[in-house]
């Protein structure tokens, strides 16, 4: 009996540093997550390999997959489609490996609907935490600046609501450490483990 892998979705507001954190996680030798390979209709660039960098598809093939609901999420950017194929994610999870997805907030909301049991991590800009300190310590900012920051902060906090965890990106290494801790902890969750052991005992 093989334990099914976890789907880990890292997302957050644009500019928060999702790509940097994802690269840092995969640059560590002991990372045993599988990075989810995206599908795209844009042409391969020099050196890009199909099935490694992307799954390269024609526009017709991609639109067929959209129609068949075989994409976890997808979006169109400057005339090209980008998306996450369900088949690859499902296959990897069923092999017992954790799949790591780094996507925009809109995509994450799509994935949440298709995969409610996924593990959704919101990468939080440190400015939110700094804002908190400023409010608490009453800094020297004008009321306008504070008000504007409060507005942005409120929007960011509202985005959090669909997520399970919030990780502050104060330092890339600290953020990576927290993400790894979250994955370790999720593998220790009683509901996952007890169910597995109960099933095992029932088999006999």
């Amino acid at each position: 009996m093989k334990e099914r892998g976890l789907l880990i979705v890292l997302s957050g507001p644009s500019g928060v540093g999702k790509g940097t954190v994802r690269k840092a996680i995969f640059s560590q030798n002991d990372t045993d997550f599988q990075y989810s390979i995206s599908m795209t209709t844009r042409k391969p660039r020099e050196g890009e390999v199909d099935g490694v960098d992307y799954f390269f598809k024609s526009k017709e093939e991609f639109e067929q997959l959209i129609k068949e609901e075989r994409l976890l999420e997808w979006a169109e950017f400057v005339g090209n489609y980008y998306g996450t194929p369900i088949d690859y994610v499902e296959k990897t999870l069923s092999e017992g490996r954790d799949v790591f997805l780094e996507i925009e907030v809109q995509g994450a909301l799509q994935v949440r609907k298709a995969f409610p049991e996924g593990l959704f991590i919101f990468l939080m800009p440190p400015s939110l935490s700094e804002l908190k300190n400023r409010i608490v310590t009453r800094g020297t900012e004008t009321q306008d600046i504070i008000n504007n920051r409060m507005k942005v902060a409120k929007e960011e906090i509202e985005m959090m609501d669909a997520y399970d965890y919030v990780v502050e990106n104060d330092h890339v290494d600290l953020a990576c450490g927290r993400i790894r801790a979250i994955v370790t902890a999720e593998h220790c969750r009683r509901d996952r483990i007890a169910l597995r052991y109960k099933k095992m005992l029932e088999v006999e």
Copy 2:
């Protein structure tokens, strides 16, 4: 606004190595949990300090605390009371520090009632995991031995049900690492963080 600490309860079947794991956690320099000091009616031993090793109380004082429901959990062993005073736990949590409690299964169930928001970790004997492997790989054990192990395993799995996490004590260092990961992850939980930030924004 100070974040309230977490109550971490480590428990599990007798003989699983709770004390060893707890000692290993507190032997690490960067541990910032506060160990919960127990209360007892037994006499202090040579070198034991009140408020450090234990809170030493008379039988009358202890029974008064039981009556006033000021103990998170308590039990009687060989004529002496042992228990966890609520006041000390509450004070430490409100200072924003995590409190670590290592107790027997019966005590943990009492704490769960008083403190449902606590973080309950079940330390699992590796034998359960070994059992799983043996069943799966069809070892050379007799059916009687397998049956007996299955019975014990079932009892242990039933104990898990009141817990949030299950940590296998295969190696003390690995178990400690998982427990630390669980605490880190719990501090990143969206419901804890979002609530805090929302409150912060409402204040202004």
